[in-house]
Symmetry: C2
Subunit: 444 residues, 2 copies
């Protein structure tokens, strides 16, 4: 019996047409990006977002006159080698059908440079640009690769809840829900899946999730969203913070390595100097991640900052948070883990690593700053109870996880959009998520 | 350069120990599920949720006396063939370390039958049961397979927003968010990703998502959750409803076929008659999905219902909704698509298939009833504008998608937990999601 079936009744995408060999008659569809009229013939670039390479269509003047930028067409024809100087492929239509016309003058996606800010105001049409469609494809590829990486390491993918009565980080900056009495208890949108992932990992050892998380952030910066996706993992039977850091490093290198192996950087070549001039050499950019990642303590980081010749706006000192300027300085030469922060700076659930520090880390990335955080989790019932009391936190079921067969444990969370921001070299986190939400902005 | 790296510094899981050959000394971890004391020796079942097969540990009486059900241990030792009658594998510990003790008398996960209702009240510990850990593993496997299926069919995985200002189904039963003025516009939790997926598919052709969706449902039934995950896909350049139905059928058969191929039913053998006697023969159950799925019109469905000898609580008649009893009757012999519902029963965005019907379908499943719904979407600007006016719906950006280069299109949504309910043969949707939310219930 054939139990695996793929699905093959869909019309061919442009990506499929370009990669198929032979010159049989095929049908494909797309949007006209641009038209170039020559003396006797015309050429149109057809796109459908499945590849950054447009399909070049050979047209008669008469056919070309019926088309305009942005209109959608169905084409039946043959793919042939161009007779021109550049041996590009050319699609020779036998039949051309206009599916939807477009008034080229009012069409918001002109064939010219649009600012990122303008495109955010056209979020519903933004996927028609080369750059944003590449970002969408890359995001999808990374998500699929995450499943592959985690399942090969015995992690189970889970869907922890979005609405929760258990606030992981201790009040503040959460969204509540209406109607307020719906759940009997007060409920808010989750800021992290950690507590629920820990509960699951107490049964099935290793779990991960890629879930939406929410912060009612007052600050509006290029690195913050009110709704973003967080990649989190929790493991039971882990006694060493090094293991957690190695997992984060291994997973990001795995994902990046897959992009390099698949030559995904080639997609970016096509948009260089066209839609957005700021794209760096993508392969080199990704290769920066494949070297050694340093691991230093918070105390050493403070020493490095204090002895640097850089003039910081905020003076670094033991016991104070690292500011964004400090984080970016420390990560200048590549990703770096900062470990053993003062206990006063970190949440109640982190295991102590000394009388004054905790076994936790922040992962800092060049240009981004903080990308991820992780820690060993306090696994002693008595010590956790004490810490929760001190902080005025009351989550009985979370404490109870340590009551019967507690285990040493650890985990981490990666800001998924921040990782994407780095990988696609965008300066604003709003440009790596399809419909960004931030204070005052939920138009779509 | 080696760009792919897997991560190998984690201790071995029980699944890895059992599947590894050779008798070298290994370290593993887990929780004691039960202890059987014999005359001179004792045996303990060790579990860690990575496989349904417990690891049998050979212990001295002295070692066994230190252990109790639920406690967690770290073991170093060798895996050997048992000398007993059943040639099971036995783990011979060289070193046994108790990580976390457990008071067997108060431990909520006794080695006995617990009702599903009791386990829901222990949602934070539920993953320690065989059945729930199987469900977690199966859910994860299915999610990973979905990525494989969709990417092989040129679909891009996306993360549409959870907080939205655009209510797809037209008000009612949505959760709002607080603070209410955060986004300037009113905002609610999404009941479906469809509108946003359509926008993305207008740029990149085919998209899919597996996103949390929310309904502030008044009705509390075994098939409804206030928070559930919806599997949705949208395609541009689709002119035929058959194509959409074939995609749904192809994908569910692909996922199920993969489970059969991987012999995933064997996991359920282990819990039969132990934790929950209601598990059916899983392989046979899955094979029911691999045959032909019927496709009939709503009009024909009404005729079948009216001419049946079944006495329904609600009389079926053209123009009225199908009730749950009708849906289950129609799907008695296998999955069935019901197409061309009266326009008055379906939302504004569906394309007309006649003057009184729409090109949409519901997919009905045995025992479950409605599992999925899909349709061709109205792609004419003028007709959509008219329908939106009639229904008093005002989503300017959604209408605008039809303004420049509109295309014939279609898509569907599958209730992911309902699909799981069927696959794992559970009677309550609350038992296939880790932390279920329903009216009055958000304890965790």
């Amino acid at each position: 019996m054939q139990t695996r079936c793929t699905f093959s009744t869909l019309p061919k995408t442009i990506s499929q047409v370009i990669s198929s060999s032979g010159s049989s008659v095929v049908k494909t569809n797309g949007w006209i990006r641009s038209i170039r009229r020559k003396k006797t013939v015309a050429f149109a670039d057809l796109v459908d977002g499945t590849t950054s390479e447009p399909l070049q269509i050979l047209l008669s003047q008469n056919e070309a006159n019926q088309l305009s930028n942005g209109c959608s067409v169905e084409l039946t024809g043959e793919l042939k080698k161009s007779e021109g100087k550049l041996s590009r492929l050319e699609f020779h239509p036998i039949n051309l059908k206009i599916l939807g016309s477009s008034n080229a003058e009012t069409y918001p996606m002109q064939k010219k440079y649009h600012t990122a800010g303008y495109l955010r105001q056209q979020a519903h049409l933004r996927s028609r640009t080369s750059l944003f469609s590449i970002i969408l494809r890359l995001r999808s590829k990374i998500t699929t690769q995450l499943h592959s990486f985690f399942s090969s390491n015995n992690f189970i993918h889970t869907h922890p809840p979005v609405i929760t009565s258990s606030d992981c980080e201790g009040a503040g900056e959460t969204f509540g829900i209406r109607p307020e009495n719906f759940f009997s208890t007060s409920a808010n949108l989750s800021v992290s899946c950690q507590l629920h992932l820990e509960a699951l990992s107490m049964g099935v050892n290793r779990v991960w999730s890629l879930n939406p998380t929410f912060r009612a952030e007052g600050s509006v910066t290029s690195r913050h969203l009110a709704e973003f996706w967080m990649l989190e993992a929790e493991m039971s039977f882990i006694e060493n913070l090094e293991t957690v850091m190695s997992l984060v490093e291994g997973l990001i290198k795995n994902v990046t390595g897959k992009l390099i192996e698949d030559e995904a950087w080639k997609e970016f070549e096509s948009v260089k100097g066209r839609e957005n001039g700021t794209i760096v050499d993508t392969r080199d950019h990704w290769m920066r991640l494949m070297g050694e990642w340093k691991r230093i303590s918070y105390a050493d980081a403070i020493e490095i900052l204090r002895s640097s010749s850089e003039s910081f706006q905020f003076e670094p000192a033991w016991g104070l948070s690292l500011h964004s300027e400090h984080e970016k300085y420390l990560a200048t030469n590549g990703p770096i883990f900062i470990t053993d922060y003062p206990r006063s700076l970190k949440p109640f659930y982190m295991l102590a690593s000394s009388s004054t520090t905790v076994a936790g880390f922040d992962l800092l990335f060049p240009t981004i700053g903080e990308l991820a955080g992780g820690s060993l989790r306090e696994h002693s019932y008595e010590r956790l109870e004490q810490r929760m009391k001190e902080d005025g936190i009351d989550i009985p079921w979370y404490l109870e996880l340590r009551k019967w067969g507690t285990v040493p444990r650890g985990g981490f969370g990666v800001g998924f959009e921040r990782l994407l921001m780095f990988l696609v070299a965008q300066e604003n986190v709003r440009d790596v998520i399809s419909f960004p939400r931030w204070r005052g902005n939920c138009r779509f």
